[in-house]
């Protein structure tokens, strides 16, 4: 299959290793991977801020960028939810509606693509560490993915998966929410990050790199001995 990578803007700039790991896993499974460099941001910050006219422009741009792509795969539940669920809502009743629906049907979150589209759970990864999993809210509640990333992690050789008592609790990121309401966002990550740290795991793994910025940022500030890691980075590890 020819996979067009959808790399979130902040992954491009701040955590490029997540994008590289995603490509590595897909290539290892025998797929052709392309990156269309005209892509930038999906427009979610504007959409979530109520600036739908601005977000609509970003959505239309993304339709152009990914026109003709066989499948679009992104290592972020949040950004994929933007394309899958919110582009059709934004472009409803416009001349772009049909194309938005079409793109939505061809766009997949990384773990979803592997498990649901390709039917693969064992990607041949090895990772002899204790990890705990954080469900990003968009992956969990917009894309309804819960078991898919766990199936992938359970198939990783040597990996021990520890669940937390706050597994599906929000980390408090929420995009600009974390900066507009920093005190609430911080309280939320204290609850989430505290529970993750208590598991004694070496890494907190998620399919959402934006949650990992928030969680990792707080864990780092608090000096907790647990590191953020994207699921693609775990699956890319084969040594």
């Amino acid at each position: 299959m020819r996979v067009s990578l959808f790399v979130p803007c902040f992954v491009d700039q701040l955590t490029p290793k997540v994008g590289l790991a995603t490509a590595k896993v897909l290539k290892r499974l025998g797929h052709e991977v392309e990156f269309r460099s005209a892509q930038t941001c999906c427009g979610q910050p504007s959409f979530n801020s109520g600036q739908w006219d601005v977000a609509r422009e970003a959505a239309i741009r993304a339709l152009e960028v990914f026109r003709g792509a066989e499948v679009v795969v992104g290592p972020s539940g949040s950004c994929v939810a933007m394309m899958r669920n919110f582009y059709p809502e934004l472009l409803k009743g416009t001349p772009h509606a049909a194309e938005a629906d079409d793109l939505a049907a061809r766009t997949f979150e990384f773990s979803e693509f592997l498990v649901k589209k390709l039917g693969v759970t064992d990607v041949g990864a090895k990772f002899a560490k204790k990890v705990t999993y954080h469900d990003g809210c968009h992956a969990l509640r917009e894309l309804r993915l819960k078991e898919e990333p766990r199936q992938l992690l359970r198939a990783v050789k040597g990996l021990e998966l520890i669940e937390t008592d706050e597994g599906d609790t929000c980390c408090g990121f929420g995009g600009l929410f974390s900066a507009k309401f920093p005190m609430i966002s911080t309280a939320m990550v204290q609850v989430k990050g505290g529970a993750l740290a208590r598991t004694g795991a070496d890494f907190v793994v998620s399919s959402d790199p934006s949650c990992l910025l928030q969680i990792g940022g707080w864990l780092s500030r608090e000096g907790k001995p647990i590191l953020p890691l994207h699921i693609a980075e775990v699956l890319a590890n084969d040594a």
Partner: protein
């Protein structure tokens, strides 16, 4: 910034920093999650029950005028008196007039959030009536002089010792740390008040159009005494509480109990069918219902968010909301706290003044999944944000988002801007930039990589 937003930001910041109080709230809700899941598991299919409950409310709300007419006709046939109130002032005036005509002195009330919405106690007290809340939680909040913290569990934030002190101060009772004893103190105090009261005011959980009955569900039995002992019973209800059929309650009552409190059923479920009839030995002589609009029709006129009128006020969305759990119920400054409050308050009290509540959400969606009548809560927060941006755009937002859009429309500018951003990140983190400074106060950013993904990809794939 609106006044309500300034107060919200201040209160939310204070509460979010209060680790003890937050831990207390989480602990208080701990048993709820266990019981709720236990009870949900007893349903053959909880998701289909949600469909049925949602449909029951949908079919009434989407035919509200007709269903209300049917309800009021049947209510009057049962011997009750119907009053329509367009807003809070009209509702207060109607109730004051009934009290005046009855030459009432003492009034007892059972739990009724709609009465909080219209600030009824204030109005009654100013007019010289004694009003006592008979729900234990509301009674405690009344003594504390504080609004309900949670519209189902009004005093969930108050520790046992504080309740004991409160009773000692106001009722002169000996201090105790036994919850049973505290309940008995309130019970002894309240019993005589039911007998003395001329008027009992209740809310309504459901208005049954088919039979003209009012359904009230409660755990303490205080609403039954409030409705049955005084001469006059006044029920105050929002117009959206009506349902078509008695049979609708067979799904709505258990779901309300399970979703809201983790119970199979609430302890007392009573249907009130009018005043005392000839030959009956008890019940009120007069039975009034005050049907309140207070901007509910404004919500009804919005097809996108109309489903917010399905709300059965179970409180499930508050119980699962990480915002509610971390800032507490009082910080909202609204009658209805939590996600449902953030959705409907802008409609009830003005978008410009109350949109900040829709902004104060990470949009995690836990509320929407918890809602037994499937209100699309977290998406409605997005809708409010969009409506507010259209109705009263702020210059900062327009400049920020158009500026951002200017950059992301041009991949070369995005790449160049990104390079500068990464190179200057250590410096940027020290500047008082909008958003960034606030974000960095409690969290670190990862060290910026020297090359972006797009740069590395180019080198790998030439």
């Amino acid at each position: 910034m609106s006044d309500s937003k300034a107060i919200f930001l201040k209160d939310a910041a204070v509460n979010a920093a209060d680790g003890d109080q937050r831990a207390f709230i989480r602990k208080a809700l701990g048993g709820y999650y266990t019981n709720r899941d236990l009870q949900k598991a007893r349903y053959r299919d909880w998701e289909r029950a949600r469909d049925a409950a949602s449909l029951a409310k949908w079919s009434a709300v989407n035919d509200l005028a007709n269903v209300l007419e049917k309800f009021t006709a049947n209510f009057e046939r049962n011997g009750g008196v119907v009053h329509w109130a367009r807003d809070a002032a009209e509702a207060r005036a109607i109730i004051l007039k009934i009290a005046e005509d009855a030459k009432a002195k003492a009034i007892v009330k059972s739990k009724c959030m709609t009465s909080e919405e219209i600030h009824l106690n204030d109005a009654l007290e100013k007019a010289g009536y004694g009003v006592v809340e008979s729900d234990l939680g509301e009674f405690i909040q009344q003594l504390r002089g504080e609004a309900p913290y949670h519209f189902v569990f009004p005093c969930m934030h108050v520790k046992r010792e504080a309740i004991s002190e409160l009773f000692t101060k106001h009722l002169g009772t000996a201090p105790t740390d036994s919850p049973e004893e505290l309940t008995m103190i309130a019970r002894r105090h309240l019993r005589q008040l039911y007998v003395d009261a001329d008027i009992g005011i209740t809310g309504a959980n459901f208005l049954v159009a088919e039979t003209g009955q009012i359904s009230i569900t409660e755990n303490e039995g205080n609403a039954r005494l409030t409705a049955a002992l005084p001469r006059i019973h006044i029920a105050l209800s929002g117009i959206e509480k009506v349902v078509n059929k008695l049979d609708d309650l067979s799904v709505l009552l258990p779901m309300l109990a399970t979703a809201g409190a983790g119970q199979p059923m609430t302890c007392y479920n009573t249907l009130y069918s009018g005043p005392r009839k000839k030959g009956e030995c008890d019940g009120p002589e007069e039975f009034h219902i005050v049907l309140l609009d207070n901007a509910r029709t404004r919500l009804l006129a919005d097809p996108e968010q109309r489903d917010a009128l399905h709300c059965i006020r179970c409180g499930a969305c508050l119980n699962v909301c990480p915002i509610f759990k971390n800032i507490g119920g009082l910080a909202y400054g609204t009658t209805y706290q939590g996600p449902i409050g953030s959705v409907i308050t802008p409609h009830l009290r003005g978008l410009k003044q109350w949109n900040h509540l829709s902004g104060a959400s990470s949009l995690c969606g836990a509320c929407t999944d918890a809602c037994p009548v499937r209100i699309d809560l977290h998406h409605h927060l997005l809708h409010n944000r969009r409506n507010a941006a259209k109705e009263s755009p702020t210059l900062f937002d327009r400049v920020f988002h158009h500026g951002f859009n200017f950059v992301i429309k041009r991949p070369w500018l995005f790449a160049t801007g990104g390079r500068i951003f990464r190179a200057t990140l250590p410096l940027l983190q020290k500047l008082p930039l909008p958003y960034m400074g606030a974000g960095m106060k409690t969290r670190d950013l990862p060290k910026a990589p020297s090359q972006s993904f797009r740069d590395q990809w180019k080198h790998q794939n030439v």
